[in-house]
């Protein structure tokens, strides 16, 4: 029977660093957490299992569905693909922290994208939804910063913000699968927010 000394409870640091575990500090939704993490742990599992932030979902655990999308230092990433041990000192925003980060938010309010998703009925089961919303936040920022996508006009001036029409939104959110098929409503929700 294996020993339990390496196993962690749901909260911050327990155990101590060794060959298979390291101490990291993650700033999650503005709050620092210092944890001893198993080197095999990915960010998604640390959020869900250690910090009880279950908003980021596990759809595939293999970078194929986008349900686990969160923002790391402002960029969208698949939380299931990132070893937590490599994220020491990083700033992480999950769906739970989006509203608080939005300009003028009081904490009780929703992020504009969250509100638009509800208004446009941009989900059914809701399982892909936190990932869609975090991904949309990241995609809007990328377009703002002038990152082109596969459907961006090659003639568009580089470095300039890319306007997000429906085709751009569809292309940029294609890493986030929705089996309920809420795509047309998601596109509308994103359009509402960038307008």
């Amino acid at each position: 029977m294996g020993s339990r000394e390496h196993s962690m409870g749901a909260d911050d640091a327990t155990g101590s660093p060794d060959r298979h575990h390291s101490e990291v500090t993650l700033r999650v939704n503005g709050k620092p957490h210092t944890l001893i993490v198993d080197h095999r742990s990915v960010l998604l599992d640390v959020l869900r299992e250690r910090l009880d932030l279950v908003g980021a979902k596990k759809g595939c655990d293999h970078g194929q569905c986008g349900a686990c999308t969160v923002l790391v230092d402002g960029r969208r990433v698949n939380g299931c693909l990132l070893p937590a041990v490599a994220l020491d000192g990083c700033d992480i925003t999950t769906v739970e922290g989006l509203a608080a980060g939005a300009a003028g938010a009081t904490g009780e309010e929703l992020h504009p994208l969250q509100r638009a998703f509800v208004e446009r009925d941009a989900f059914q089961c809701g399982y892909c939804t936190p990932g869609q919303i975090c991904s949309a936040v990241g995609a809007i920022a990328e377009a703002e910063a002038g990152h082109p996508s596969h459907v961006t006009d090659p003639e568009a001036p580089s470095g300039q913000p890319v306007p997000l029409g429906p085709d751009e939104i569809r292309e940029r959110l294609s890493g986030n699968l929705c089996r309920c098929g809420a795509y047309p409503n998601i596109v509308r929700a994103v359009e509402d927010v960038i307008r």
Partner: protein
């Protein structure tokens, strides 16, 4: 019903919307009870045979591993009606991917490492996983799924076909398909003394409770199953699946709450799939397109442990007025995973064949495909002779044609090119039966003017919480925000599953009856209400399941415009439009989402989704979301869904038909027919992936790309 004007049919927002967009809605694997541990299955690496030995020493020596369960040491269950739930009960391996062991450990990482360290020895015997329509083991079952007779024949279809002026004689193939809800099947179970409490990702917790009570030899009162939020199911969570049984077993063995969440790659073999269907289709008609004969013969597979027969010939019994008809199923048991329900079982693959064949007939007879369908509209249900409670297929076709601008279509195939792209449009009809099951509900009015409705309905994404509140508010004649709905817990009054597009009708009827009674009691009550309010109960047994003298089905029409890239073979959908006649639509917002969602899955069925049973290994090759292509954002245009007002007094008190499945039903055929119109090539095997499309185009001269294209 009391009429408050806006509650029924109004586009009310989803009640749990806020929880879902903020991440506070918890699903089955997210029940972080104190001391909760994780389990990871080990699945069979052979397609047929027995487990000789499960070597657990290496796994048990790893940090964090608590136990390894296999058929050697797992708790004995009572015999299961559903053989797929008899997990870890015997060394038999009926198919590749069958669960042979379960590792329980403190953390996910430790459980996964433990599972990788388990070594299994097998005695393998030869397997057969390949479906053919002349397979020697093919037999005609007594019934197909849903209790449909396997074989129906009226008149003399062979002779009528032989005599027909216009004939279509063809084959279609729909491959195995996977439901792949975004939330993998998962359960968290704990034992409180002799009581079992399970959070299960399920479409119906009442059945899960019954089955767990039976397997673990408990009274039903000693089992609670909670399915508060469910991340989609599409049929694959319609009855209990192995995770909840394994979680309960492991929790009993370890004395800890245990979560079992299936890794995505195990799902193809463990949660059911849409069985492949081979269709032989023959249509005979007079020169003006009047059908004289229809023969629809389906061959499908099932596993060795369970007979499930995809009822794909059944829609031929509903759709068109051919006087001579045959519809039949045969099934081949193979060493494959057990197939099961996937959104519109029977209708989805069946109508792909029916509506493709009708399109072929239209081309053969030189008729407009919309008019051909109108010509063959029956007066009564062709198979049963029953009158339809309502049937507005023609109206759907006409309304769709108008909105789609069908009249401007040049009917000639391959008549429209835009540079290297060929453009085409297609139409197909859709149908889905009305199903209703008995349910119970209570309604409770409190002295402060609030109302609580209790029923074990499940919201798998349909908006059930919202629409049941609308039905209650409408029946009580009170504002929507005064009504609270408690659901998703087997301790509530029992209710059937969210499946067969029957949920809202079944639950809504019970809610309606309980609220009608409450309204009557409130009306007769004088003075203030007692402190604990007034309560009523309703049970629709006997009414909801009463035989109807009517044939009851929803109908719809789908129109699609596609482009076919002659260089890459890629088909893309430009426009997709559906018009439905589905009784009264109870919530315009969530209904539209369901229609669009169904059509999106139909788009996947047409173009991107297909699974391959590998003859050598017995595995589904496309077992993850990288290989099995669920449509992504960029695949899906702005889909339009419309409906016509349909009054039907023969359904239920709300006048509604189910809407969760019909959206998928005609979509694949409409897209396939559009691809024929674009290319002049008739593809008869789904999905219409670039490899197939290019191969088909090779026989033809590609159009010359224009420099501006």
């Amino acid at each position: 019903m009391a009429d408050t004007g806006t509650t029924l049919g109004a586009p009310a927002e989803r009640r749990e919307g806020r929880d879902k967009v903020t991440g506070s809605a918890r699903y089955a694997a997210e029940q972080t009870d104190a001391g909760r541990v994780h389990a990871w299955p080990v699945v069979a690496g052979i397609a047929h045979g027995t487990v000789r030995a499960v070597h657990t020493g290496a796994a048990l020596a790893l940090p964090g591993v608590l136990t390894v369960l296999s058929h050697d040491n797992a708790p004995r269950l009572a015999p299961a009606d559903d053989a797929t739930l008899a997990v870890l009960q015997s060394p038999r391996v009926p198919h590749r991917g069958w669960i042979v062991a379960l590792v329980v450990a403190e953390t996910l990482e430790e459980a996964r490492a433990g599972a990788a360290a388990v070594r299994v020895d097998y005695d393998a015997v030869p397997h057969d996983v390949t479906l053919t329509d002349d397979h020697p083991d093919a037999y005609t079952p007594e019934q197909a799924n849903g209790g449909s007779p396997a074989h129906r024949e009226q008149g003399d279809p062979e002779a009528a076909f032989a005599d027909a002026e216009v004939r279509v004689d063809t084959h279609y193939r729909v491959p195995p398909l996977h439901n792949h809800p975004m939330e993998p099947h998962a359960a968290t179970a704990r034992w409180d003394g002799g009581r079992l409490v399970a959070h299960d990702s399920s479409q119906g917790a009442t059945t899960v409770r019954t089955v767990l009570a039976s397997l673990f030899r408990l009274a039903e009162d000693d089992v609670t199953v909670i399915s508060e939020h469910v991340g989609g199911g599409f049929g694959s969570k319609g009855t209990p699946r192995p995770p909840v049984v394994l979680a309960a077993m492991a929790a009993r063995e370890t004395g800890r709450p245990v979560t079992v969440a299936l890794p995505r790659r195990f799902m193809a073999a463990l949660v059911g799939h849409r069985a492949p269907t081979l269709h032989r289709f023959r249509l005979g008609a007079t020169a003006d397109g009047t059908l004289t004969s229809s023969l629809h013969e389906v061959t499908t597979h099932t596993s060795r442990i369970k007979e499930f027969v995809e009822q794909a010939a059944v829609p031929s019994r509903v759709m068109y007025a051919a006087p001579h008809r045959l519809s039949s199923h045969q099934v081949v048991p193979l060493d494959v995973p057990s197939p099961s329900w996937m959104r519109a079982p029977g209708e989805a693959p069946g109508m792909y064949a029916v509506e493709s064949a009708m399109d072929e007939l239209a081309v053969e007879a030189g008729l407009d495909p919309v008019e051909l369908r109108v010509t063959n509209e029956p007066d009564t249900e062709p198979d049963s002779g029953k009158p339809f409670s309502s049937r507005h297929l023609v109206e759907c076709l006409r309304e769709g044609a108008r909105r789609f601008d069908w009249a401007r279509r040049d009917p000639r195939p391959r008549s429209r090119a835009e540079g290297p792209l060929l453009v085409g449009t297609g139409v197909a009809a859709a149908t889905y039966p009305v199903m209703i099951n008995p349910a119970q509900a209570t309604a409770h009015g409190t002295p402060d003017g609030r109302f609580v409705v209790r029923i074990n309905a499940t919201d798998i994404g349909t908006g059930a919480r919202t629409v049941l509140a609308q039905i209650a508010a409408h029946t009580l004649g009170v504002p929507l925000d005064r009504v609270h709905v408690d659901m998703g817990d087997s301790d509530l009054p029992p209710a059937p599953l969210a499946g067969g597009s029957s949920g809202t009708a079944s639950w809504g009827w019970a809610v309606h009856d309980a609220c009608t009674r409450l309204a009557a009691r409130l009306a007769g009550h004088t003075g203030p209400l007692p402190d604990d309010g007034l309560r009523t109960h309703a049970d629709t047994t006997g009414s909801a399941d009463a035989d109807s003298p009517y044939a009851r089905h929803a109908f719809g029409a789908h129109f699609a415009e596609v482009t076919v890239d002659t260089v890459s073979g890629e088909v893309r959908v430009r426009r997709l439009l559906g018009v439905y006649a589905a009784g009264r639509i109870l919530n315009a917002r969530t209904a539209r989402s369901q229609f669009i969602g169904g059509m999106t899955m139909g788009l996947g069925m047409a173009l991107t989704e297909g699974s391959t049973m590998d003859g050598a290994s017995g595995a589904f090759v496309e077992s993850d979301l990288a290989a099995y292509h669920v449509p992504a954002h960029a695949d899906v245009p702005d889909i339009e869904a419309h409906w016509i007002d349909e009054e039907d007094p023969h359904l239920n008190p709300m006048g509604s038909k189910g809407i969760g499945e019909i959206g998928i039903v005609g979509t694949a055929a409409a897209i396939g027919n559009a691809v024929h119109h674009a290319t002049g090539v008739r593809y008869r095997e789904l999905p219409l992936s670039p490899d197939k499309v290019l191969t088909g185009l090779t026989g033809l001269t590609p159009p010359i790309p224009t420099p501006t294209g």
